[in-house]
Symmetry: C2
Subunit: 409 residues, 2 copies
C-alpha cells in the first residue's frame, strides 16, 4: 500500500511513518517543521533529542532498508499538496498536519486565527486535492475526543439514535469543544463529512484521547525516537506530570482534579492507527472512530506518577492549583468504542505499567528538562499572578477572566 503521512515530523506522525515502513508499505511524508519552531517560541524543546528529517530519512534506510520520500511543505499551500498527491498517488493519507495545542490556540487573536486557518484551510486544500488527484484514496484524519466535550450522556461514536418529540433519526453526536484548537478540529470533522457526502471521498475520523509514552516498538535505535513535549503549551497532561516528577517539580492538578479523559499509550495509538489504515472503510463512506484505552481523572494520573516516582526515589509532590479553565471539575464520562474492537484491536498497555518506563526513559534526559525549567513551571504558577506577569503568552484580558488551558488532548 502507498501511504502518505502529513505532519510526519510530529509526536505521532513520526512513529506512524516508522510503523508503516516496518509493515512494508511505501511511505511518503511531508511536514513544515512548524512544531519545532513553535516549541522554541515558548522557550522549550523536545525532552528526547530528535535528529533532523534528513538524518531520519537516512536512518530509515539503514535500519529498515526502506526509502522514505519526504517533502517539506505546508497544507495551506494548495499547489504543494496538490502536486505531492499527483506525484505520489497514495492509497491512504493520514493527516497530522495541524496545529495541535489547545493552550497555543488560546494565546491571543493571532494564535487563534493561525489555528483556524492552518487547520481548517489546510484540510479544505487537502480535500480538494484528493478529489482532484486521488478521489478513491482513504483519508485518516486525526480528530480528538475533546471535540465532544463532557456531556452528561454516553459519548457516541460519531452518530447516535435519538428520539425527539416522538420521531426518530440517526444524527451526528453534538460537539461541545473547549478551545479554539478543539473547535478547529470540529470544523474539520464537519467539512470532511461534507466532502464524503458530495464527492464520495472515503474517510476515517479518529477521535483520540490524550496520548502518553516515550517510545514504540519500532524505535530499535535511540535515534529513531519521536519528540516528547513537556512545556505548558505543547505537553499533554500525563507526559507533563512525568517530566515534573523527574525535574523535581510538584505535580499540579487543577482544583479537585476530577477532570476525566480517555488516555492511550503511544504504542497502542500507533497500532490502532496502522490497523485503521490497513482496514479502510467502505469506499465513499465516512467512518468515525473513538479511540482510547482507559478513562482516568487527572488526580488519579498524578497519584500514579507520584507512586511510581517515589518508588524510583524521586520524592514527588502533588500540589493542586485553582482550576483556571472553564470546565466541569467532576463530570460523567463514558465514551463508546465499537469500531476498533470490531477490527480486533484491544489496547495492550495501561497507564500504571507505563509510567515507570516513561520516568526511566526521561531520567536519562533530566538535564534537558531542568534547563527548560521555566517552560515547565508555567503550569505550576499559571493560576497565580507571577505567570501572567512573566509570560507574554497569555493575553491580559484572558488572564483577567482566568482562562488558560492545559492541553489534555
Amino acid at each position: 500500500m502507498k501511504v502518505m503521512v502529513l505532519g510526519a515530523d510530529g509526536y505521532l506522525g513520526w512513529p506512524l511513518a516508522l510503523r508503516m515502513v516496518a509493515h512494508g508499505h511505501e511511505v511518503s511524508a511531508a511536514d513544515n517543521f512548524y512544531t519545532r519552531k513553535a516549541v522554541e517560541e515558548v522557550g522549550s524543546w523536545s525532552a528526547i533529542p530528535i535528529p533532523s528529517m534528513e538524518e531520519r530519512v537516512k536512518l530509515v534506510k539503514e535500519v529498515f532498508g526502506a526509502d522514505l520520500v519526504f517533502k517539506e511543505g505546508d497544507l495551506r499551500d494548495y499547489s504543494f499538496i496538490s502536486k505531492f498527491l499527483e506525484e505520489q498517488k497514495p492509497d491512504a493519507i493520514i493527516d497530522f498536519a495541524e496545529q495541535r495545542s489547545a493552550p497555543y490556540s488560546q494565546i491571543d487573536i493571532d494564535h487563534a486565527v493561525f489555528t483556524m486557518e492552518n487547520n481548517v484551510i489546510g484540510t479544505m486544500n487537502l480535500l480538494y486535492a484528493m478529489k482532484e488527484h486521488v478521489p478513491s484514496a482513504h483519508l485518516l484524519k486525526m480528530g480528538t475526543l475533546g471535540e465532544y466535550g463532557t456531556p452528561n450522556v454516553d459519548i457516541a461514536e460519531g452518530h447516535f439514535e435519538v428520539e425527539y418529540h416522538g420521531r426518530k433519526d440517526r444524527l451526528p453526536f453534538p460537539r461541545q469543544a473547549g478551545s479554539w484548537y478543539h473547535w478547529s478540529k470540529v470544523h474539520d470533522s464537519n467539512n470532511i463529512s461534507f466532502a464524503v457526502k458530495i464527492w464520495g471521498l472515503t474517510a476515517t475520523d479518529v477521535h483520540q484521547g490524550p496520548v502518553y509514552g516515550t517510545r514504540t516498538d519500532d524505535m530499535r535505535d535511540e535515534l529513531l525516537r519521536t519528540r516528547f513535549d513537556f512545556d505548558e503549551v505543547w505537553g499533554t497532561v500525563l507526559n507533563r506530570y512525568c517530566v515534573e516528577a523527574v525535574a523535581g517539580l510538584p505535580l499540579t492538578p487543577y482544583g479537585e482534579g476530577g477532570q476525566t479523559r480517555g488516555f492511550i499509550s503511544l504504542e497502542d495509538s500507533i497500532t490502532a492507527l496502522a490497523l485503521l489504515l490497513e482496514k479502510p472503510p467502505e469506499q465513499g463512506t465516512m467512518r468515525v472512530v473513538n479511540q482510547y484505552a482507559e478513562s482516568k481523572s487527572v488526580m488519579e494520573l498524578a497519584q500514579m506518577v507520584k507512586e511510581a516516582g517515589d518508588r524510583l526515589g524521586l520524592d514527588v509532590q502533588i500540589r493542586p492549583v485553582p482550576d483556571p479553565r472553564v470546565e466541569a471539575q467532576r463530570h460523567y464520562y463514558n465514551v463508546e468504542r465499537h469500531v476498533l474492537p470490531a477490527l480486533g484491536f484491544y489496547p495492550k498497555h495501561n497507564v500504571r505499567d507505563e509510567i515507570p518506563a516513561m520516568l526511566t526513559d526521561l531520567m536519562k534526559y533530566r538535564d534537558r528538562l531542568v534547563e527548560k525549567r521555566e517552560a515547565i513551571l508555567l503550569a505550576g504558577s499559571k493560576a497565580g499572578v507571577e505567570w501572567r506577569k512573566t509570560s507574554s503568552l497569555l493575553p491580559r484580558k484572558a488572564a483577567a477572566r482566568g482562562f488558560t488551558q492545559r492541553s489534555t488532548t
Copy 2:
C-alpha cells in the same frame, strides 16, 4: 441605543440599517462592497438599481434627518474592526458581513477557501475585537436554518433535551449543512458559543430561513431600496422564480420539488431582527433563534408564482429539471420557534400575498432582467451539458458528479 451594522450594503444589511435609523438609534455601518463585485463577477447585477453608499448616507440624512456613520472595511482585517469598535462603542452589533451564497462557495477551491476564510476568520476577529473594546455589547449574528439540514425529527431552537442510554442532557442540536457556505455558518455558530462561554460575551444566533421581497416599509423613497439578486449564484429561490416569471423564462424546480424550507418576507425579517436587537438576551448568554414565517416546498412556490404571474398576464411555465444537488427531494421538515413569539413577534406577511407585489415591483425593471438573461438562464440549463460548457463557474469534477446548488437560504 448605538447599533453597528456590519455588511450594511447588502440585501438585509441596508434595510436593517434603515429600520434602526427609523427607530431613532445611532447607527454606524461598514461594508467592503464585496457583494457588488461578486455579483458582477458572475455577470449579473441587482434587479433594482441601488445608489452608491455615499448617496445612501446623504439620502438617510435627507429622509430621516439622521447621521449614518459609514466606514469601508473588511472583517478579515483585525485592525479595521478593532478600531471601528473602539471608536463607536456600539451597544449592539449585527453581523451580515459574510459571503452568503451556497453556490458561490461550491464553485471551486478558491471560492470554498474564500468562504471559510472570510466568514470564519472575520467572525474570530469580530469576537476578539468585541472582547477587547465592547465586552458587554450584544452580537446579533445571521445564521441560517440551513445549518440544521433536514433531519427526520423536529428541528430544535439551538438545543434539545435528549435521553441516550438512560441518561439525559440538554445538547446542541446537531448540524448537517449542505454547502461549504452553510458549514462556514455552523463553524461561526460554534465559535460564537465558545466566546460566550469563556469570555462572557452576549450573543444572539439567528437561524433564518430564505428571505423574499423587494421592499420594507422604511423605503419611503425609491432610491432607498435594497439590492435584489436574481442570478443563479446570488439569488434565492422565490426571488429568482419571480424574476424568471417577469423575464419570460420557465420556473425550474429541481426534481419532484418537494424540498421544503421555512420562508420569511423581507419586512418580517427586518422587524424580527430589530426586535431582537432592541430586546437583547441576558448578559453573558447566547440566545439561539429560529426565524421564519411559513414552510413551503419549492414546487408550491413555483405554483404560486405561476398563478400570480398568469393573473398579471405573464404566461408563466414550470419546467422541472433533474435535481443536481445532493439532498432529499421529499423530507420531514418542522422547525421549532419559541423565542420570537415569546417576544411578541408574529409574521404579518405570507408568500401568496407578497408574490403579486414582488412581480409588480420587478416588472418596472424588466429590461434590466432581460439584459442579464444569461445569468438567470444558468439555472434553467444547469443540469444539462450546455451550462457546464459555457460557464467557468462549475469545476469540471463537481459537474461530473452533478453537484451544484441553488441557494435556498
